[in-house]
């Protein structure tokens, strides 16, 4: 054994590459031993699954009680088309809904706005009024499923529409369960779908925290997201650090808004990337749980253990998908999906093989779901909780990622917080730097991407693709016109006036939005009223 260590650590001619690094550029030793985790204390640093600090998982029984939720993100075209895709995924054994909205919806613009031209229904489903949400949820019992809605700047408006549809179905709000992403900080950092400046945006978020604590207690109010940070080019450690620091910012703003930490913290959930570097990803999830448990107990003095437990959804890395030899993407996705399963995730989305080209076809989406089902039922990986616990390598990697994240916390704390760091452009610049470094590594051949810079095929085999034409936009424009023609304009105007007054003051905006939604005010109208009060945010472009 000793000999093996010596020969593995010595520099040998003929080794493939020096040094060996993770996809994030982290240098990896050829072998890890007991010496690497000598300082690790089982009770203090790991704990059994279900025990503080939850490094080994938040459930004592792992996946024995319940598998993760197989939640496939879907949305395109009209609400009717997306409803059909959702029903198909549920019938195929999917266990939760996850709605993707189009860009006009994400940016709070109606389909008839000039900026929406060419974008309606393209990257997700178009929803601009209660009428669209009614069509989206038709035939789906909202009290019987959990729904995830990927919506951020206009999260509270879309959530209000969902609540009103549930109300019309006869479901109580207390019975509803699901998630709105509602994570505006990562929009400023990475995905850039923001409307208002950071501070009023944070007010919308805390309004949802307070409203749900009182009225929709089972709803996950924020899905604090590292996924987009990673897709924008961050390293694993930056994803971990910025995501959890965003979480800290939300908790602090909630407390500053007068909420008790244990009133809202148990309903915060997280969303991480499942990238290609297998062990680094597993370590990332384990480190995330440990950091969050300490933050909540020690920094925020939360008393309820549910506030300490980090629950997360994961999605395989869209950025890793290639247009070259697209069937390779099935393999990439399957391997990536293993990491959050072995890392104790609560929910998972697997990407489809065709998503470097377009939104997925129904067949490709089903294959992606089947990938999860095969992992769950055929591989045996769900039988043992935290199977890598105690691994010299994974424990060392978990500790290293934790330390790197905590160092970022210090830097951001010194700036005054994440909102201030964002206003300084700090996380944005860190990510851009990592993205450029990675791309140069690929082009220098330091990083092999199969089918792209190695094992290139002479001719590509075309695959079937979903093509979204302009008919969805026409349907949506017609429905919008009909809504505007048939609603009570006075009621709309009054509800929007009350929303404006409330936003200018310090009222909770959620009840005001619910009234506007019930009157069939459109998403664009509600967002415009708030634009008048708060203005729009414009990023200073840096390269």
């Amino acid at each position: 054994m000793k000999n093996a260590t010596q020969s593995a650590t010595s520099s040998r001619p003929g080794e493939r590459k020096q040094p060996f690094t993770t996809i994030s550029g982290r240098v990896i030793d050829p072998l890890y031993t007991a010496a690497d985790i000598a300082s690790l204390n089982y009770q203090r640093d790991l704990g059994d699954p279900g025990e503080f600090p939850y490094s080994r998982g938040i459930h004592a029984s792992g996946y024995h009680g319940k598998l993760w939720t197989m939640r496939q993100f879907a949305g395109f075209g009209t609400p009717e088309e997306t409803n059909q895709r959702s029903q198909q995924l549920l019938a195929a054994g999917g266990t939760g809904l996850s709605v993707a909205f189009d860009l006009p919806t994400l940016m709070g613009r109606d389909p008839d706005h000039p900026l929406s031209l060419g974008e309606v229904g393209k990257c997700g489903v178009s929803v601009s009024s209660l009428a669209d949400m009614e069509a989206l949820c038709k035939g789906i019992d909202l009290s019987g499923i959990t729904s995830s809605m990927t919506i951020n700047s206009p999260a509270s408006m879309i959530f209000a529409m969902y609540l009103v549809v549930a109300e019309k179905q006869g479901a109580t709000w207390e019975s509803l369960s699901g998630t709105i992403q509602n994570d505006i900080l990562k929009e400023f950092i990475a995905q850039k779908e923001f409307i208002y400046p950071p501070r009023p945006s944070m007010r919308l978020v805390t309004d949802v925290l307070a409203f749900c604590a009182a009225h929709v207690p089972k709803w996950n109010t924020i899905s604090v997201s590292g996924y987009h940070i990673r897709e924008a080019g961050s390293t694993a450690a930056q994803e971990l650090a910025f995501t959890l620091r965003d979480g800290i910012e939300y908790v602090q703003y909630g407390i500053d808004a007068g909420l008790d930490v244990d009133e809202f913290a148990p309903r915060l959930s997280f969303f991480f990337n499942a990238h290609s570097d297998f062990f680094e990803e597993i370590a990332k999830y384990r480190a995330a749980r440990r950091i969050w448990a300490h933050v909540m107990r020690d920094r925020f003095k939360a008393k309820n253990p549910r506030s300490w437990k980090l629950r997360f959804h994961a999605q395989t890395a869209g950025v890793s998908l290639t247009v070259q030899q697209p069937y390779n993407n099935v393999v990439r996705t399957a391997l990536q999906a293993l990491a959050p399963v072995l890392g104790g995730g609560q929910s998972l989305h697997t990407n489809s093989l065709d998503e470097a080209f377009a939104l997925p076809t129904a067949e490709a989406a089903t294959l992606a779901l089947r990938t999860q089902q095969i992992i769950a039922h055929e591989t045996g990986v769900t039988d043992v909780t935290d199977p890598f616990g105690g691994s010299y390598f994974v424990e060392k990697l978990t500790r290293d990622l934790e330390e790197e994240a905590l160092a970022y916390f210090d830097t951001i704390d010194r700036m005054g917080g994440m909102v201030e760091a964002i206003e300084n452009g700090y996380p944005q610049k860190e990510i851009a730097e990592s993205a450029y470094t990675y791309q140069r590594g690929v082009e220098a051949g330091d990083r092999i991407v199969v089918g792209v810079n190695a094992y290139v095929a002479d001719a590509e085999v075309p695959i079937p693709l979903l093509y979204i034409d302009h008919s969805a936009a026409e349907t949506q424009l017609a429905r919008l016109a009909n809504v505007k023609a048939t609603r009570d304009d006075t009621a709309v105007r009054q509800s929007l006036d009350r929303l404006k007054a409330g936003a200018a003051g310090d009222a909770n905006t959620m009840p005001l939005l619910l009234d506007a939604v019930r009157a069939y005010a459109t998403l664009g109208e509600m967002c415009d009223v708030l634009r008048e009060v708060w203005g729009e945010y414009e990023e200073i472009p840096v390269i």
């Binding site: 860009l103 031209l117 924008a232 993205a435 791309q439 082009e443 472009p541």
Partner: protein, 136 residues
């Protein structure tokens, strides 16, 4: 003095995914070009105004959202109207095969799909940029 190639990199439409635009902007700058990055959510009018004001030789558009068939024709006709018909227009992003000949037909020259190297884009621009520029 040698004239540096001047490139306006723009992200039209509502999409905010700017990783590609920013990485390419860095690569072109490192290749010795003068790069002006306009930032997010630029209308065709603003992009053409930036090209005029910056005396751009090249406009690079990053479009991932599927709105290219609405955005590109508008930019091309505005360029023509401003007498900027000789500005090299290139697009990077997710462009279905079906649309590539249509974009070529309206004068969009280079179309760079996922997996294109930064070096390829640098070389393409140096080779196809209008002739008043010294590219040696």
């Amino acid at each position: 003095m040698q004239h540096k190639i001047r490139v306006v990199i723009a992200k039209p439409g509502l999409d905010g995914h700017d990783r590609g635009a920013r990485v390419i902007a860095r690569a072109l700058r490192d290749a010795g070009m003068e790069v002006i990055y306009t930032g997010l959510r630029q209308t065709p009018e603003k992009i053409v105004a930036a090209a005029l004001q910056e005396d751009a030789d090249v406009i690079g558009l990053s479009i991932l959202s599927g709105a290219h068939m609405h955005i590109c024709p508008r930019i091309m006709s505005l360029l023509e109207a401003q007498g900027l018909g000789d500005v090299l227009v290139v697009v990077g992003g997710i462009i279905p095969d079906l649309d590539i000949p249509k974009l070529n037909e309206i004068g969009v020259r280079g179309i760079f799909l996922p997996g294109t190297t930064m070096q390829h884009i640098v070389d393409y621009i140096k080779e196809h940029v209008r002739s008043r520029v010294e590219t040696s």
